[in-house]
Structure formats: structure tokens, C-alpha cells
């Protein structure tokens, strides 16, 4: 019971609660024991955050839920005041069968299902390689491999855009050497091009997490395995990989959540190759387009909620599946 009361308090009473308690703390009346005062002061450390969190995270969620239930129509050519009317779940009903939105969702889901395991596999390979060399060598390589992580995401996308480009990019002549002639911006290659960019940008960081997990494996186990005649490859597969499974799940989950909301990469690719990337290429792009090009914020809010639900469901399913495998 008390927890529900507190939930409500931090939901809609966040502004009132601190001011009331702050007044009590400031007055320092003898009615409060020093213990209570200390508690109030302790709690007051969190108030700036609690207020800001309520205003900039919880309030938007509530606003979004509210907006999605209305629809606004402008009369004529967009001039004059818009008439806002309660629409119930109309926006959701429309969003749930919107072929443009679900096409984009399918596109991104297939991409995520392929690219996330690929990234995991490469990152794991990299972490195992780094773990297999001497510490001094490892430290040097680790820094080099983390360079992509240090380069801002937008700059990374631009670099690869130019590398892929038929005009300034060296990649096409490079592949030409092997007799492979390909257009990196064509409809069939575009996801491969974006996928390579994702691999390049994230393997260093994922490697760091997995390498950290590998470092926690007690070294005596390896010695014991070597005495028993296990090869280094066997040790990697049968001891190291099972040890880092938890980290693999974590990085995989983060990748999936990020990939389903992908926006920056296709948006920048679109400015180079608008014919293979439509304005509704990914769910986030559909939402952006609905909100700021079409101007239907209510519908965009509803689509945001649907996207959030899909992302949440995907996280839960992956979590469940991986837990089942582990047990």
C-alpha cells in the first residue's frame, strides 16, 4: 500500500514534496529529532534529481500518452487554429495497421537479427585474440581497436559515406582489384554498408566489456586445462566463452535496443542516396517524418509508444531466451 502512495507522490507531487520537506528542514524546530533531520537532509541530496527526472522523463511519458489519444485537424491549407478532438485509440488503431510503419519495422528487425549476432561474434573473437597475447602487446592493440569508439558517431558515418562513395572513396577501386564491382549505396547493398559501419563502430567497445569479463576468469583454470592437454582453442571455446556469456547477453541486449531505434545512419545515408533510402526507412524515421514533415504530432506520439512497446517486448524475449539457455 505504502509503495503505491509513494509512486503517486513522485509522479505528480514531486514539486510539492521537496518544498514541504525543505521548509521543515530549514525551520529546524525542536519537534524533529536530529535523526529525522539527518534523514531529511540525506533525502534532500536526491531532490534536484527527483524533480528534474519528474519534469524531463516522467512528465514527457505522461504527455506522450495524452497526446496519442487526441487528434488535431487544421482547416484549409494549414492556416487558422487547429481543432483538437479526443480520438481515443484511433491513432493506435491506425498505427497498428500502418503498412509504412510496419514495413520499416520489419526491415529494421531483420537487420537487427542479423547484425547483432555478427557484432557479438566478431567482438568475442577480438576479445579472445586480445586475451591470447602478452599483456604489453594487448594494451597497445586495445588502444588502437578503441579508436573507432572515440570517433563521434556522426563523423564515423560521414567517413564511411565518403569511403563508399564512387567519387572520392578508395573502397570501390580496392574491391575492383579482386574483380568485385559493387555499388555500396544500391538497394541490395545498403544494409550491408550500414552493417559494416555498425560493426566498425561497436566491436571495440564490446571487446572492452568482454575482455574485462575474461580478465575476471581465474588463471589457474587455464593452467589446469593445459596440464590436462587442452589446446588453446579448446580452452577458449570451453572455458572462456561460457564465462563471458553474461556480458554477451548484456551487450547483445543493448545492441538490439539501439538497433531497433536506428536513425542517424539511415538519415545521413539518405542525404547521399535518397533513391535507396526512403524517408520512411526505419521506425524512428517514420516517427520523425510524421512529427516534423507531416506535422501530425499526435500520430507520431502513438507510433513512439508502439515502437517503445516493440523494443520492450524484444528486450524481454531476449532476456528470457538467454536465461533459459543458461539454466
Amino acid at each position: 500500500m505504502s509503495s503505491r502512495v509513494e509512486v503517486r507522490k513522485s509522479l505528480d507531487g514531486a514539486e510539492q514534496k521537496p518544498s514541504r520537506q525543505a521548509r521543515a528542514g530549514a525551520s529546524a524546530s525542536p519537534r524533529f529529532s536530529w535523526r529525522t533531520k539527518q534523514r531529511i537532509k540525506g533525502a534532500s541530496f536526491t531532490w534536484p534529481f527527483v524533480i528534474g527526472f519528474a519534469v524531463f522523463t516522467l512528465l514527457p511519458v505522461v504527455v506522450g500518452l495524452g497526446q496519442s489519444l487526441f487528434s488535431s485537424k487544421t482547416s484549409g491549407l494549414g492556416f487558422g487554429a487547429a481543432t483538437v478532438s479526443f480520438a481515443g485509440f484511433d491513432n493506435f488503431a491506425r498505427g497498428l495497421v500502418d503498412p509504412v510503419f510496419w514495413d520499416s519495422m520489419l526491415r529494421v528487425s531483420i537487420y537487427a537479427v542479423v547484425i547483432v549476432p555478427v557484432i557479438q561474434l566478431i567482438s568475442l573473437t577480438l576479445a579472445l585474440l586480445i586475451d591470447a597475447v602478452k599483456r604489453r602487446v594487448a594494451n597497445r592493440f586495445r588502444l588502437i581497436l578503441l579508436i573507432p569508439y572515440m570517433i563521434p558517431g556522426i563523423v564515423a558515418i560521414m567517413i564511411w559515406l565518403y569511403l563508399y562513395s564512387p567519387v572520392v572513396g578508395p573502397l570501390r577501386p580496392f574491391f575492383g582489384l579482386f574483380g568485385v564491382h559493387t555499388d555500396f549505396f544500391s538497394g541490395s547493398m545498403i544494409w550491408v554498408s550500414i552493417g559494416n559501419l555498425a560493426v566498425w563502430g561497436s566491436i571495440g567497445f564490446n571487446m572492452l566489456i568482454l575482455f574485462g569479463a575474461l580478465q575476471a576468469v581465474p588463471r589457474e583454470i587455464f593452467d589446469a586445462a593445459r596440464v590436462d592437454g587442452a589446446s588453446e582453442f579448446r580452452i577458449a571455446m570451453s572455458i572462456k566463452v561460457p564465462y563471458v556469456r553474461g556480458s554477451l547477453v548484456l551487450t547483445g541486449l543493448l545492441s538490439i535496443i539501439g538497433t531497433l531505434q536506428i536513425f542517424n545512419e539511415p538519415t545521413l545515408f539518405r542525404s547521399i542516396s535518397p533513391e535507396s533510402i526512403t524517408k520512411d526507412f526505419t521506425p524512428s524515421m517514420v516517427i520523425y517524418n510524421q512529427a516534423f514533415q507531416v506535422g501530425n504530432l499526435n500520430y507520431a506520439a502513438a507510433l513512439s509508444i508502439i515502437l517503445a512497446a516493440v523494443v520492450g517486448a524484444a528486450s524481454v524475449i531476449i532476456y528470457r531466451l538467454t536465461n533459459k539457455v543458461e539454466s
Binding site: 511519458v61 597475447v133 572515440m150 509508444i305
Partner: protein
Amino acid sequence: MTLTSSPSKALDTKKDTRKIELKALRLRKRQLRSMDNDDPSELSGKRGRSSWIVLVGLVLFALYSVGPAWWLLISATKSKEDLYTTDAMWFADFKLFDNLASLFTYQDGIFGTWLWNSLLYAFASSIGHTVVSMAAGYGLAMYAFRGKGTTMGFIIGSFLIPGALLTIPSYLLFVQIGMYDTIWAMIIPAFFSPFAVYLAKIYAEGAVPSELLEAARIDGAGEYRIFFQISSRLMTTAGATIFLLHFVGSWNGFFGPLVYLRGADKWPVMLGLYSWLQRGTDSTVDLTGLVITGSLVATIPMVILMIAMQRYWRSGVAMGSLK
């Protein structure tokens, strides 16, 4: 060996003693390193071939990682014409300074404004972000009070809220409260990050002993004074990590500025570069050279910062992933 063979004629000056000290230090380091290599498990001869395979694999990955960055570095030094005609992976005529000059003078030096905006947003938001998160994390770690459990619940729960859910409603909210298209939209909302609070709490639990707090109380220090004069100093590492991670995140931000800012004079550098990329492809002006040089200018501070402060963000990564 290096020690004895160094010239002994001018040992009296301070400079030379310092030099010799440095040499000795270097020698000692080298010894330590070679001891490090004598790890018995690494010495067995039959691992020779597999360790070559490992090394080749690592070199290939390293080339893959560095190649694009190298291309950016090379291309930023080329003139517009050389960009299209010369070998993409090697230097041509060195024109970096000409490129920089045209970068900072194009459109009355708007690139400088963007850089300044990025710096301002990154610094201002990171300072507030760090102070708010440290205080909240400390409060949650060190005190028992009503609503603590609920607050923690909300913090953990909010990790699951995808960014896409918040963008449109935040835009509406910012329009309502007059923050849309102002610098405050880039600064104030960034103060409140559940993840940073979580990091600070985890760190405070390990770094600030409650006995110390009791001792300070007995000496008559108030709770706020204890935080600002004692605990915050014990939490410096966490503070630096939180500051750095957010500084980099703010510098690299794209979607937020795209949605919340309209006027080009308020854009951060990433959004500015995007606008040039977009314009360069659909009009007659060729902005490719400017985008490339601008990208390099926007990247180098980040790379230097990240390398210099490796210790901090790596600890942040470890804290975030293991707990």
C-alpha cells in the same frame, strides 16, 4: 648499460642529473616489462604457430579500425582537386592549413560558432549533470529515508525507456515551457540522468565509509558540509567518469539538437556538419572538402580527451557492465 655509457663530463648541472634519472627510470621500466614477458605459461614452444595466427588476426582488425580514421586524417590535408585524383590513402600536397582557413571563414565563420556551441553545451550540461548525479547517488547510497526504494525503482525502470519514446513528448514540452530552440534545451534536461545517478550510487557505496561520516558528525560537521568537503573528494573518480562520459555524449549528440533546435546559430558542430553534407550533395557548391576538414577538427579534441582520460571511462564501462 645506458647508464654507464652516458657522458659523465657535465654531471654537475641539474639538467643532466634529471636526464640520467629519466634514463634510469626508462631502463627500470624495460626490465619490468621483460619480467612481465617471462610469464611461464607463455613460453611453451608449440604455441608458436597459433600465436602467429593470433597476431595476424589482431593486425587485420587493427588495420580495419584505423583505416577510416587514417583516411580522414589524410583527406583533410588535401586540396579539393587532389581529393578526387590522388591516392586516397596517402598524402598529396599538404594543404591542411589552407583547408582550415577556408573552413573557419566559410559563411562568416559559422563553423567557429558551431564549435563554440558544442563546447558550451558539453561543458555546461556536464557540470550540472555531474553535480546532480553525484549528490543524488550519494544521498541514495548513504542515507535511509522514505521514498528511497521508490526512487531506486524509478531509476532502474527508466533504463528500459527507449529514447524514441521521449523525443516527441519532450519536444512538445519544450515548446510549452519556452525551451524549444534555446540553448537551455541542450543544457538543462541533460542534468538528470538515471544511469549517472546509478553509477554514482554504486561508487559511493564502495568509496565512502559510513564510519567517516559518523566521525565527521561527532566533530560537528553538517550533512552538506560533509558532502562537499569530504565525501565528494572521495568520489572524484566517479565524478570524473560521469563528467567525461556525458561530455563525450553531449559533443556527439545529433538527434536531440536536430529536433530541439531550429536556428543555425545555435547548432552544435555535428548538426552543422550534417547540414553541409546535405547541402553539398544537392547543390552546385562542393562542400566535401569542408565537411572532411570539419569532421577532423570536431574529432581530434574527443580522441585526445578519451586517450588522456582512458582510466576514467574504462572504469565507467566496467562499472556499468558488471554491476
